[in-house]
Every structure is written in structure tokens, then in C-alpha cells.
Assembly symmetry: C2
Homo-oligomer: 209 residues x 2
DNA sequence: TATATACGGTACTGTCGAGTTTCGGAACCC
DNA sequence: GGGTTCCGAAACTCGACAGTACCGTATATA
């Protein structure tokens, strides 16, 4: 952000020990871990530093404040585990949706939802975080659902007048509600019940044809 | 909770000025206001006292700590604005659902969702709050939806194999997600789109017959 | 009237954590 | 080697807030 540069831009500072760039992602990962475990307000810089086996000064040399550290950590979380170049294509909407349920994606989603829970108190004061969270957590899943639904419409499995945008959000909203408010785990059975109880029926697909 | 009683139970203390019982709900209301505006971690007892035009000692004479005050305030929020003895009965599922959308209920729901947003950080440390929040915010709406859905099934408008429990939760989950994460207002148009884009289609009711 | 408790308001205490500084040591450049 | 910047670790400053104590006043009992 606001980079304090004591040396002129033309002459890059080449004196002294170089900054260990490998520490940046390690500190950011530690930040996300603590964030998921204790939330933003419960998190201290000491916790993050201890988790990353770093000194507090090392953290503050790279980020100006706690809030900037967290904002950066969330922004760098973007790397979704979803590979958009290798999405399942089973021939049915249900097949595609179920194929997305893998132990790894359940685990990854749970972690991101925990991080999101820890960020809720921060969102009102830092609106830019709303966008970061949406890009990193909400949007990837929505996009996948949208692709599956549009495919199903193209092949005539689903009528074209369904509300694709809204239906793409339903799964994520139910998972978020279950994690943040009900504090219950989002497991495979729950995701299946969303697919078979909400999304498919809303697309006009009745149970076991 | 843990009541420190300096006088024996048999001889109720009758000396001195009596406690003004009308201050209790006023302080609890002020607590909910501040909670909705700043969240649990941002809220201070001074804010609550100032809002209620009370002294800090008056607050601490009634509640032992900040957390107990908040827990009590949420528990006393239970009084839902919904009158279960005068639910709409229009003859169609859509009519019933739309009839529940009133300016007052939108406003009341928004306030409760804001309070809920302020409580998220607290839920992991105080599991009893999860139940209070569910009873005060989540459950009343779910119960209404369940009644409407069961009615629609009885009159044959909706097939009996729909997932009533899950569909009853969808609206609340989407509203929660929109308020807490997307930070957008839950207005009449949004609720209508949930009804027409998710709930009714999932019940096998296509748009405008 | 004397005593005791509640009230609003203010001052106080103690803790906790953000952010800064310092230190011994290591890595880099000249 | 000498100067400089990094590292982890620990000590430090400082403001904010939970919780307590006290003040003058109001209201209750005896």
C-alpha cells in the first residue's frame, strides 16, 4: 500500500541482508489459520507471529497494521481449489453437482467459511473486504453452479426460464448459514440434501426418475 | 444467574430505595441497538449506558458482565413480531408467502439480522447463544414457512415429497447471507425473487400459470 | 428523622493488545 | 573487514475498555 521508500526509485536499495520473500506467504497462511480459529477481534499479532515462527517486527516490516495484514491475507486466499479447465461433465445436472463434492473441497470450503466467520465483524468498517471475500469464497462456487445450470439448459434438461443467478447462490448461502449461525458442519450429506431438496426440484427435476 | 444475596431468603430485603424495574428492558433495548450498530467487540458498556441514559453502575448492578448482558438481551428479543394466531391464508402458497412481506416485518427482520451479524464472533465461545439466536431470529420464520408449505401440500397444490424442512430454511439463509456477507439490503424485491425463483419452482409451481 | 439502597455521573484500577524499539546474530554488498 | 539491513525475540509505550469505587441525590423502610 503506502510504501515508505528512503531510497530514490532509480537506485534500488541493494545494501544489507535481503528480505526473505518466502516468509510472506507463510505469515499470510498463519494469519488465515488464526483468523479461522479465533476471528478478527480475538486474533493478536503475537499469535500470528508465533504461528509463523516469526518476530513481530518482521510482520510490521511488511504490513503497516493488523487490518492491512488481514486484508492482504484474504486477498491472497483467492487461489481457489477449483480447476475451471477440468470441471466434471457427466451429462446430467445432478451428476455434475455431485461430482464437485470431494473430501478436499469440503475441507477447503469449511476452512474458508471459518475465515469468513472471523471476518464478519470487520466487513462493515472495510467495504473492500466484501469484494475480496466474494471473489475468494463466494464467487468461485457460484460460477461453477452457473456453468452447470447453463449447460443443463442448453441440453434441454432444465427449462430456460429458471433463475440461474439466484439458484447458483443458494448452495453457498445455505452452507454459510449452517456454519456461521447454526454452527453445524457442512458435510457431504448436507450438500446432497441441498442438491436433491432445493436445486434440482427448483429446476423441475423430481427425485429419482 | 449467580445471584449474590446478602440477606437470608426468608427475610426479603425491604430497606432502601427500590430498584426501578422499568430500566431493565430499556437497558436491554439499548444493548440490542448498540449491538446492531457496532457488533459485540466494538460495543462498550459506556455506549449502552449512554444510550439508555443510565449509569454504568446501574448496568452492573443487574448483569455481572458484558457477555451476560448481551446473552440476556438476545434471549429477551424472543418476542417475534409474527402473530401465529393471525397468519394469512390466501388459498395459494405464493399468496401466503407474499402476504408475509410487510414494511414492518422487513424492518424488524433487518434489525435482527444486524444483531445477528454483531453476535457471530461470540457464538463460538458461547454455544447457548446459538440456541437463543435460533429461537429469536431463525426459527419463527422457518416455522411460518413450514406451516404454509404443509398447508399447500394438504390442499394438493404442492407434491408431498418436497423437503419441507429444508425449503423452510432457504429464505432465511439467503437473507442472512445477503446481510452478513454481501452487505446488501434485504428489500421486498429480493424476497419476491426468493419466492418466485427458488421456493415456488422447487415446489413444482412454474411462473404465472 | 435515621438508615439503607437505587439512581446518574465521574474518577479510578487493572489488564490486554497494537505498534515501537532494542538487541544479538546472520546475510548481503562494497 | 566495515557498513547496512534483515532476522527472531523480548522489552517497552500507550490508549482503550471491563469492571469497581465513590459522589451527591432521590426514594424507600422503620
Amino acid at each position: 500500500m503506502t510504501q515508505l521508500d528512503t531510497t530514490p526509485v532509480t537506485t534500488a536499495s541493494k545494501l544489507g541482508r535481503k528480505r526473505d520473500l518466502t516468509r510472506d506467504p507463510e505469515i499470510l497462511d498463519a494469519t488465515l489459520d488464526v483468523l479461522a480459529e479465533t476471528g478478527y477481534d480475538g486474533m493478536t499479532i503475537d499469535m500470528v507471529a508465533a504461528r509463523a515462527k516469526a518476530g513481530k517486527a518482521t510482520v510490521y516490516r511488511r504490513w503497516a497494521s493488523k487490518s492491512e495484514l488481514v486484508i492482504d491475507a484474504v486477498a491472497c486466499m483467492k487461489t481457489s481449489d477449483i480447476d475451471f479447465d477440468a470441471l466434471p461433465d457427466t451429462g446430467t445436472l445432478r451428476g455434475d453437482l455431485v461430482a464437485m463434492i470431494k473430501p478436499h473441497s469440503i475441507e477447503d470450503g469449511a476452512k474458508k467459511l471459518q475465515v469468513m466467520a472471523g471476518l464478519v465483524s470487520m466487513l462493515s468498517k472495510h467495504p473492500e473486504l466484501v469484494d475480496s471475500v466474494r471473489e475468494a469464497v463466494t464467487e468461485p462456487r457460484v460460477r461453477v453452479n452457473r456453468i452447470f445450470l447453463n449447460r443443463a439448459i442448453e441440453r434441454g434438461e432444465v427449462p430456460a426460464d429458471v433463475d440461474v443467478d439466484l439458484l447458483s447462490q443458494v448452495g453457498g448461502a445455505l452452507a454459510t448459514h449452517r456454519t456461521l449461525i447454526l454452527r453445524k458442519p457442512v458435510d457431504r450429506a448436507f450438500v446432497i440434501s441441498i442438491i436433491d431438496g432445493v436445486i434440482l426440484p427448483a429446476c423441475g427435476i423430481r427425485p429419482q426418475p
